[in-house]
Symmetry: C2
Subunit: 256 residues, 2 copies
Amino acid sequence: MQDSTERLFQAHEFAARAGVTIRTLHHYDRLGLLKPARRTAAGYRLYGARDFARLQQIVTLKFIGLSLKQIKELLDGREFDLATTLRLQRWLLSEQRRRLDLALAAIERAERLTAEHGAPDWDAFKQIVEVITMSDMDWTKKYYSAEAQARIAERAATIPREVVEQGQRDWAALIKECEAAVAESVDPASERAQGLAARWAELLKGFTGGDPAIQEGLNKLYADKANWPASMPKFFSDEVQAFICQAAAVRKNRQE
Amino acid sequence: MQDSTERLFQAHEFAARAGVTIRTLHHYDRLGLLKPARRTAAGYRLYGARDFARLQQIVTLKFIGLSLKQIKELLDGREFDLATTLRLQRWLLSEQRRRLDLALAAIERAERLTAEHGAPDWDAFKQIVEVITMSDMDWTKKYYSAEAQARIAERAATIPREVVEQGQRDWAALIKECEAAVAESVDPASERAQGLAARWAELLKGFTGGDPAIQEGLNKLYADKANWPASMPKFFSDEVQAFICQAAAVRKNRQE
DNA sequence: GATAAGGTCTGACGCAACGTCAGGCTCAAG
DNA sequence: CTTGAGCCTGACGTTGCGTCAGACCTTATC
């Protein structure tokens, strides 16, 4: 299978060609993300063309913001699908960009105020950020009480790693199953749909940290699906959304 | 000085009001960033109104992307000026935003291609990122040789923390002195200007990692200041730029 | 063949900003 | 007085490598 005459590169040249450091190669090796094709008798790493291709995939996926763990699962191809991952990642990046824009706006206004006032104006600066972060919460007001909003804000900062990345696989898998169910025109009141709705609720519970006030808001969200805010994640199709809303409604009725 | 009747809050309520976790307060306490006004006999932290104001400043500065170390230096007020920091930070954030846009564009194109092709197209995906990162390097081609570009790319990823944040204070201080020199119409050939140019070169050397090929490119950059690329940092005025260019030119002549 | 220079190897610790136990106090209510 | 809830202080985990440190390998030179 392997061409025994294939040219192999030592770490130094290989790393230079790929634009990464040797230490990075060591790191990927230990993670099992990229193992060299061979080792010399002395233990030196030797990389081949296939390694190069894989490293380029790694670099590409890293460029769009995936973690090394995600990249490993993707490239090892175990039940992780690229399309859904890309949709999720696109949403994550767009969120980051929105927050960056807010920060930039805050800085620019603070600079203007400082220039006008002659000296840095802390109160104004603080207010700017407050206003900006308030406007960031606009849509939550429709659905959440004041205390729930505070707790959401508290959790919001801790979410990125904890849930989004750790649970990304769970969401991706669940959404995929929902899509399948939609494709098969499964009845939202059926056993299968109810199971999906239950898992969906479970994931949301993890997302909300089990806070009852927040879950109350989510129930309201379910109630009028037409009003799902634009800033909510949209990594699933409208059909899936409608399906899960109906199933959740049925589920709620039965529980009452 | 202190109002002995001032209302003090315990960690739990204080944290909730400020929208941070208790653990964050512990962290800031250990860093010396925010010490509680008092402690009870049992060691419980008690925070006052001034602590609240300071915490809000911290949160604000964190929102615009400053590190805790930078925030501490700013709030402790030792030779760190807000105006320059804001300019530097604005540039940093705009750079981040540019890279985010590139990643988003890559994802969107990859999604389109995947949809058209039916299956994920790794080669196309890889190419997209390559093209994007290439266009990212456009201006460097004018000044750097091929090998130097490779090394720049290699270093580019390692720079954010290492130089920008660590050396930010040095740059800010130097730029400030240059502005003063410009304001006093100091002769670029004078002893003082030459000292500034030497320090400038020293910082750049740190920035380039002492790579001679990269420094060669920087010399070319000095030569025709009119051609400074738009993507280069612009946290100093045109006057400072002209001043440092002239001083560097004089310095170069003398060294030859 | 010895030696010096330079590249490689494997740990192990460092960094940013906290989260998350774990074990031990403290405090208010019943 | 007990119980539960909240606070305290370490100490380790996280992410993606950088940066030594000590030991080994290879190559060129004398």
